[in-house]
Amino acid sequence: MQKKPESTVQRPYWPPYMAGAALGLTLLLTYYLTGHGLGASGAYTAATAALVETVAPGSGQNNSYLGNYFTPGHSPLFSWIVFEVLGVVVGGFVGAVTAGRLKGQIECGPSIGRGSRVGLAFLGGLFMGFASRLARGCTSGQALSGGAVMALGSWAFMLAVFAGGFLAAPFVRREWQ
């Protein structure tokens, strides 16, 4: 990160407990309305399924895993989770704009090149995509949503996420610090 003048127009983040409470109420509302929680990785899976199907027709529907994301007459993109994540994108955009935080940038620590950072972002995404399918969800669908209904596997998952993060953190310290 170059020495950019510290932006003074940015609004501060909310205090963590306040942001957490707002997210918790959103999750509660979602459960009350729909009977299930929030998610994220499912939308990426639907996108993968749609992409595979577009590139090689039939290979998405016939895949033993991605096939579950197809319903007759519908694209996998026409689903609850995809619309929810579209909302997340717009909500995040509105949040960034109203806080003065909308800025094109590649975010990393001062001692790593931008190319390396983008490569590591892709690599991390690769792990994330694979792992979210293995665990049947990510930080949203498993940790938050499963945690709120006290699912044992979700709490075990959460501990494993933090363990994995702390295990790998020393190896990528230069990426961030």
């Binding site: 993968t48 509105v94 995509g129 293995l134 990510c138």
Partner: protein
Amino acid sequence: MSGPLEVHGLFGETWSLVLAFAVGLLFGFFLERAGFGSARKLTAVFYLRDYAVPKVMLTAILVALVGLLAFGSIGLLDFDLLAAMPTYIWPQLVGGLLLGIGFVVGGYCPGTSAVAAASGKWDALAFMAGMLAGIFGFAEIFDRLSSFYFSGELGDVTLSDWIGLPPVGVVVLLLVVAGGAFWVIGRLERRPGRLVERKAESDVVEPAASAVSGSGGAR
């Protein structure tokens, strides 16, 4: 009316998707306000520099959990109609470990990368592309993984079943544990040389980074 409302057939397909978009809107906005569109803020917990991630996550879960139980106790919510969250302990543990690695290497998780991309982070787009590739890889080898994917099946077991306490007891227990965790975090934050949270998020001071054992956060 007793929830979940969806089961009463109140919303057709279209309204269901509109609602999905609406709750996503709130989700994304609050994630942004939490600072979760920033990879450096998200990963800082793993270097004991910023504790927003565990604070926000634990608070969100506990608020939702207490709310769900409260709704249930006054007849506003029928727990039997909530989506099942089955436990498959081995893939969830291994998946969690791999996901934690992906989190600190990539800087985001699936939801936060969407927020980051929407606030202009190009690295978040690379992360999202990586996710699609990772999911594709998973799907390609799913047949070979499926016995592991379905291993350790425990059914819809909850902490309440597992510990043998009624849900309210588990909530009290979790509140005590979370309170303890927040207290420890508060102590850590008062260490000399800590990251000052009120500083602009991009300006991470170099503290005397000695203890990165990680034992404090792995709970």
